[in-house]
């Protein structure tokens, strides 16, 4: 029996491609009745094409989705119910998978997929610029006041270097705002999921800090309207001091794609007014199963995901192989497991670590509370992009007015999607 699986690394990423093919060969050897038909693609999901694929109903048997895609996959009626197939026997690490990640693929009591990556965000810092500016890179700032102070010091280096950067396009502005408000202890959406909750002191504090850095301190660039992929390039080119991201930005983008040096970056927790983040937006991705899959295909798909993504020491978690292949090992991510599974994963990772864990210690020890993403996340983020953009481009931006207008728009979105 054959299962098609997408998000396989293409030949343009030779080492990842090689590791994937090795895993498929080993899995097929262990399960001679299963053939994995890999669909090679990067990026794993292009949202517009993904939506079109769902409408056409031609997704692979086991298909990659972001956590934020759950509603649209269910609305399109394309996900199979896998609840009865998943138990501690078929998925040994089940009880140790972090609850927010499992919640991201669950609707009511029905399970529609298995999570494979889960993250919280922190503050990535450029250790080189910190040192040049006379700052201590082992003590990343934790409060917005410290971020502002350090950003000013870094901007003084000149040569087009700016202390802080943030997004305001491609839904990424709203996405970051969401994480920043989580750290402040605020919420994007009320607990009932029926209305916007970001027009709060916490929301205003975040936007005020950004506006201060952009127009009072001038420690953010006049070039705004930036989307994902831009700040990583600035960081790799040593032109940016700090920005908010998950750790994988360093080892997936800044170093391999943008040419940064692996030892030049560190990470602290998300900034907040108090210095102790109340939480962080957590996100990630998962695999779901096509509605048309036969029971045997669902069983085979679960077997494959357990092998490739949910077992320490194997597949994605084969740290010894990653080290041998020249990949950096030792980042505090993905935060998929708790309990015994996490302990085993950490032990294996530490054994093969190639990056200095001290660079990430303040992020790791903050143990940020994973908050999950708001209801209708992408639509909400889209609505907050113009707010972030206005705050970062208009010296006279009226923050209260902007949040009030966006509240009306988000309430409308939530009412329509209910």
């Amino acid at each position: 029996m054959t299962i098609s699986v997408d998000c396989a690394p293409p030949a343009s990423a030779p080492q990842q491609h090689k590791e994937w093919l090795e895993d498929v060969a080993l899995f097929e050897k262990q399960n001679p009745n299963i053939t994995v038909n890999s669909i090679f693609e990067n990026p794993c999901e292009v949202p517009a094409s993904f939506t079109a694929m769902l409408k056409a109903g031609n997704e692979p048997n086991v298909f990659y989705t972001y956590f934020t895609d759950k509603n649209q996959v269910l609305d399109a009626g394309q996900a199979a119910d896998i609840t009865s197939y998943v138990n501690s026997k078929t998925v040994p690490a089940l009880k140790d998978i972090v609850p927010t990640a499992l919640a991201a693929v669950t609707a009511g009591k029905t399970l529609y997929g298995l999570p494979t990556v889960n993250y919280t965000q922190g503050l990535i810092i450029n250790r080189v610029l910190f040192k040049q500016a006379g700052l201590n890179p082992d003590q990343p700032p934790t409060t917005w006041a410290e971020v502002e102070q350090d950003a000013k010091a870094i901007t003084k280096l000149g040569h087009g270097i700016f202390g802080y950067g943030d997004y305001s396009a491609g839904n990424n502005g709203g996405w970051h705002f969401s994480s920043e408000i989580d750290a402040e202890g605020g919420h994007m959406i009320n607990s009932a999921g029926t209305g916007a909750a970001f027009n709060s002191d916490q929301g205003k504090a975040v936007l005020q800090a950004l506006h201060q850095m952009r127009f009072v301190d001038h420690s953010m660039s006049p070039t705004q309207q930036l989307a994902w992929g831009t700040l990583q390039k600035q960081m790799a080119a040593n032109k940016l001091g700090m920005y908010i991201a998950a750790p994988d930005d360093i080892y997936n983008v800044i170093v391999p794609q943008d040419g940064g040096n692996i030892n030049d970056y560190g990470m602290g927790p998300l900034p907040s007014t108090s210095g102790t983040p109340a939480g962080s937006l957590s996100g990630g991705n998962d695999y779901m199963f096509a509605k048309r899959d036969t029971p045997a295909q669902i069983e085979a798909g679960i077997k494959w995901l357990v092998f490739e993504n949910l077992t320490p020491g194997v597949g994605f978690y084969n740290y010894a192989r990653q080290k041998a292949d020249g990949f950096p090992v030792g980042f505090p991510e993905p935060q998929m497991f708790t309990g015994a599974t996490e302990a085993k994963q950490q032990q294996l990772m530490t054994k093969s670590a190639t990056v200095n864990p001290a660079y990430f210690s303040t992020f790791a020890s903050a143990h940020e509370l994973a908050m999950g993403e708001p209801a209708d996340a992408q639509a909400v983020y889209k609505t907050l992009d113009p707010v972030m953009l206005e705050v970062l481009t208009n010296p006279n931006a009226n923050i209260s007015q902007l949040l009030s207008t966006a509240t009306g728009q988000v309430n409308q979105i939530l009412a329509n999607s209910g």
Binding site: A48, D69, Q78, A169, A379, Q412
Partner: protein, 290 residues
């Protein structure tokens, strides 16, 4: 019979790729889809788009773009064509130069302009700095006034990209005007502007009115210009959000709340507006011809 045979290809192409999608769009605008089940939704998709505050913003911006594109994008190629027609030297070279931007893929041309407009290191601000003039945030300018700096920036890029085609069409029309008409006008003492007003414009009226219609229909469907220049967004405070951009957002960008049905409803509204405009325009030109 052979005439009908020749028609089949065109009819099939139009049927599959134009008429069927139009009919499907109309049907989908009255439906909703939940958990894979499609059902009739009455006018709820239309109610949703009319209640959306960005609906009116998008229409305001689209009309702003259309008017600015007419003022700048319609007049500039006409005068460039007149200038090219009058030139005695380097005609071929200059025509090639004017047409060159049309040959660039729109995305490349717009990415070039995105770089020109960059507030930190863009070419335009560099020039302004050298001239000791105040710099601008161009397409990232805040403000939703009429006209907004952001929208003017979009129109400048769009005009640069598209004027080559219109210029060539005007040029062809200008070269069909008999030279004796200009000679006669000159004998009657007409200067350059009177010749343009009394000879050039009346003689090219048909081409001018055809391009006017085509340009309005095209500019009302503006999408790629603002989309690329704003990095997939819609400008500061949505000041470059167009109707087609909003359709795209409904259908694709709002992953999680993506809604083909609302997108279809907005598509139908845009189609009706353009159909009413085109019908009214054709009726008016027929009246004038009589």
């Amino acid at each position: 019979m052979s005439a009908h045979g020749f028609l089949i290809g065109a009819v099939l192409c139009f049927g599959f790729f134009s008429w069927y999608p139009i009919c499907r769009e109309i049907v989908m605008s009255f439906q909703k889809s939940r958990l894979g089940v499609t059902s009739w939704a009455g006018l709820s998709n239309y109610e949703r788009i009319f209640r959306d505050p960005t609906f009116w913003t998008a229409w305001k911006n689209t009309l702003e773009f259309t008017v600015l594109a007419l003022i700048i994008g319609y007049a500039v190629p006409f005068f460039v064509a007149i200038l090219l027609n009058e030139l005695r030297h380097a005609k071929g070279y200059l025509r090639c130069l004017v047409y060159l931007p049309v040959m660039l893929p729109p995305t490349s041309a717009l990415l070039l302009f995105a770089y020109f407009y960059d507030p930190s290191y863009g070419l335009f601000n560099d020039v302004l700095r050298h001239l000791h003039l105040p710099v601008s945030q161009w397409v990232q300018s805040p403000g939703t006034g009429l006209p907004s700096m952001a929208m003017i920036s979009v129109v400048i890029a769009a005009t640069w990209m598209n004027m080559g085609g219109a210029t060539l069409i005007y040029l062809a029309a200008l070269q069909n005007i008999p030279g004796e008409l200009y000679d006669a006008a000159e004998l009657d003492g007409a200067g350059l502007f009177r010749k343009i007003r009394h000879v050039t414009i009346p003689q090219t009226r048909l081409i001018l009115s055809m391009l006017l219609l085509l340009q309005i229909v095209a500019t009302m469907q503006m999408f790629v210009e603002a989309f690329i220049l704003t990095n997939g967004g819609a400008g500061v405070n949505n000041n470059t959000l167009s109707v087609v951009n909003l359709i795209y957002q409904y259908a694709f960008a709002l992953s999680g709340a993506s809604n083909y049905n609302s997108a279809s409803a907005l598509g139908v509204v845009l189609m009706l507006v353009l159909a009413v405009f085109s019908g009214g325009y054709l009726w008016l030109t027929r009246q004038t011809d009589r």
